[in-house]
């Protein structure tokens, strides 16, 4: 989010300082599965996701760096009747909102994803305009493009405090000295609550840990669309080089720990084998974890806060912020520049948690 915002601000000739405690894309931005997905979202987020998907195809060219964006489609699979019923209701709403999404029969689902077992599934929903991109590349691309436009990047620089004068921010204290600006954006994901505390705000964002596993290279159709199935089963997607990523649903975690646990490996492999038995002989070559950032209602906070002048919270994407990264950066830049984002951000007000 920070890199995307820095780029859209720099493009409008706004002077930007981007402070990062580690390196670009070190946390969730570089660790997620890269799903550029519109279907299956909270209705409030759908317009943002749909607008963002219009932006993704041209980003490689615009940013001058290949981000491996591919419209591989996204397939939600129902493993029981109840899930199928829920899907039907959702698809109705999504179609009303203008999304190109449809129900598919078990046979169609198997055609899209040959490793599915027809007898084990009840059908699904398919959104052909959904896709994937390489999360490390897009984050890097935004950062580099922002830098080329004059944004100042301070990596390996930690924010250690924020000095206030009344309800105004005097400066931000970092390990590389004092910095400041007319507007300060808190786009620190799972750490948003820590930064919030520095200005006396309680930002209700909790970190969770999601673990990813990577298989050996497989034929390109092994997991052609991005696959999701509800109920703690996780998700599967294939990289440009053919490795399949197995994603685990997020679990609460203490102390921002991104260690890999055997329990998660065991759980995720068992779920995968129940769902995709043909993966039995597939070797897992690596595992890693990343943190997701959760708000109580599972949608982000993207707003100014009335308590502190010029302070924006842009965090809490609750495990599904990747697709909306580009539009979010654009909208927040509009919010900063003329106070009028081109899409409504009303649903994402910080104040909704203060009622």
């Amino acid at each position: 989010m920070g890199c995307s915002l820095a780029y859209y601000l720099a493009r409008k000739k706004i002077r930007v300082i981007l402070v990062e405690k580690s390196h670009v894309g070190a946390e969730a931005s570089g660790r997620n599965a890269g799903g550029v997905r519109q279907q299956g979202r909270n209705p409030a987020e759908l317009p943002l996701a749909m607008e963002s998907v219009k932006m993704w195809p041209s980003l490689s060219k615009e940013l001058g760096y290949d981000i491996d964006y591919r419209r591989v489609g996204n397939l939600y699979v129902a493993r029981n009747k109840k899930q199928l019923e829920d899907f039907k209701k959702r698809v109705e709403h999504e179609r009303e909102a203008g999304l190109d999404v449809r129900m598919v029969t078990p046979a169609e689902a198997c055609r899209l994803m040959p490793s599915l077992v027809k007898e084990k599934i009840y059908g699904g929903t398919y959104c052909p305009t959904d896709g994937v991109a390489n999360p490390i590349r897009i984050t890097f691309a935004f950062a580099q493009a922002a830098k080329a436009l004059g944004a100042k990047l301070y990596t390996h620089t930690e924010v250690v405090g924020i000095e206030l004068s009344g309800n105004e921010i005097k400066f931000v204290n970092t390990t590389k000295g004092k910095m400041g600006g007319e507007v300060v954006v808190n786009a620190t994901g799972p750490w948003a609550s820590v930064i919030g505390k520095m200005v006396g705000l309680h930002i209700p964002i909790q970190p969770k840990r999601a673990q990813m596993m990577i298989t050996q290279q497989l034929p390109q159709n092994a997991c052609a669309p991005f696959i999701v199935t509800p109920g703690d089963y996780g998700y599967w997607t294939q990289t440009l080089h053919g490795n399949v990523l197995l994603g685990h649903t997020s679990r609460p975690v203490e102390q921002y720990d991104i260690g890999v646990t055997f329990e998660a490996i065991s759980f995720q492999t068992q779920k995968t084998l129940q769902f995709l038995p043909s993966f039995k002989k597939v070797a897992i070559i690596r595992c890693y974890s990343g943190l997701t950032e959760w708000t109580p209602d599972g949608i982000p906070i993207i707003s100014f806060v009335k308590e502190i002048k010029g302070f924006i919270v842009d965090a809490g994407y609750s495990g599904h912020g990747f697709c909306i990264g580009p539009i979010s950066g654009k909208l927040v830049s509009e919010m900063i520049i003329d106070g009028r984002p081109s899409l409504s951000l009303k649903a994402f007000e910080y104040s909704r948690f203060q009622k």
Partner: protein, 372 residues
């Protein structure tokens, strides 16, 4: 995978090369329940293919061939009832004390009070046009072929690298019946021991210093190689190419510590060029920054078999001391003796650099301890 039982041991040693075997013997001698795990089906590590006689002092088995040292150590392992798990891969370390091990495609968990990582090193690659042609291989791979599997990799060989590995393997290829066309090294001098380079020289094999490979060529495998002279910036000198007809190119351009498990266990690292790259920080007990995890041998920085053995002992002595199976006084005395023997190895132009590397690691370890 399914639910799995938890195996337990006092000391788990990962790697059954010289460092690991010494560690396992020392730990078992002190009465610790010891398990030694090795990825390859046969224990012994590099020792099993070292047909040359060691030199140095009596304590370091001077005059004995590596393969015979290995046989002796394996005898002790069996006598001391060390549990052997060969052909077993350690694929991670969880919670600082649980080894995830896999054998024949089945995973198990082994909880160990102390873990000694003696995982050795891997050969560095060297990329040039044609380096993926069949016939280009690591010198260590060639050594395994001739000394263990009794297969001659080729008839005409170019050895790249005039360090100890390059010189020793070149000579052994010669003994095995290959013709070694030349040994080349980009450095302006021979970095291996004189005792090894002298053998090569006596056999009439040219050692071309300030030379490197420009490219290898061949239809389906190596048919020849272009060698080129380099200046003191390591830049090729135009028109100095030599065409050599060879079917095998052996690469001996250094080793890198195999330290993935230490990374996975969250050990702190530092970069020491003279020891082969990234090495975990450790103290004079060979204990890393993760309590209960020790490191020894090439995984603690590239040296040689004799020093690996000493480090294996030091790690095990410290582990059993920490388990209460050896008094502090005795452990201290044994470590002091081991360091005394190590000192005799870490002198001279080769040893000095490594000694400085080790000192650097200890200082960095100390600094880390002070920071936290």
């Amino acid at each position: 995978m399914g639910s799995m039982s938890m195996l337990t041991t006092d000391v788990a040693v990962v790697g059954a090369g010289p460092a690991g075997l010494y560690a396992a013997i020392e730990a078992a001698k002190a009465g610790a329940k010891t398990t030694i795990i090795n990825e390859y089906v046969e224990p012994g590590g590099q020792l099993t293919k070292q047909i040359h006689k060691f030199f140095g002092s009596k304590e370091h088995a001077a005059g004995v061939r590596g393969i015979d040292i290995s046989a002796k150590l394996l005898g002790s392992i069996d006598e001391l009832k060390v549990e052997k798990r060969m052909g077993t891969l350690v694929w991670s370390i969880f919670h600082s004390n649980i080894l995830a091990i896999a054998h024949n495609g089945k995973s198990e968990m082994l909880r160990a009070n102390k873990i000694i990582l003696a995982t050795g090193a891997s050969e560095n690659a060297f990329a040039f046009p044609g380096w993926t042609l069949p016939g280009v291989m690591g010198a260590g791979a060639a050594q395994t072929l001739i000394n263990l599997q009794r297969i001659l990799p080729g008839n005409r060989v170019l050895m790249v690298g005039a360090g100890n590995v390059g010189l020793i393997v070149a000579f052994q290829l010669l003994q095995a019946g290959s013709e070694v066309v030349a040994v080349v090294d980009a450095l302006p001098y021979i970095s291996g021991y004189c005792v090894h380079s002298a053998k090569i020289a006596r056999a009439g094999i040219p050692i071309l210093t300030s030379h490197t490979v420009k490219k290898a060529y061949g239809e389906i495998s190596v048919e020849g190689v272009m060698v080129v002279k380099v200046d003191n910036q390591c830049k090729p000198i135009p028109k100095s190419e030599q065409d050599m007809k060879v079917d095998t190119i052996c690469i001996a351009v250094g080793l890198t510590p195999l330290v993935e498990l230490a990374w996975l266990a969250n050990c702190r690292f530092t970069w020491v060029a003279s020891l082969g790259g990234y090495v975990p920080l450790y103290d004079d007990k060979m204990e890393t920054t993760v309590k209960g995890i020790y490191v020894a041998g090439d995984a603690a920085g590239i040296e040689e078999a004799s020093t690996a053995m000493e480090e294996g002992s030091i790690a095990a002595i410290s582990a059993v001391e920490s388990l209460g199976l050896m008094t502090q006084q005795r452990a201290y005395a044994l470590r002091a003796e081991a360091y005394e023997r190590l000192r005799s190895f870490r002198i001279g132009p080769f040893g000095k650099l490594r000694d400085q590397g080790k000192q650097f690691i200890w200082r960095e370890r100390q600094k880390y301890a002070e920071r936290i």
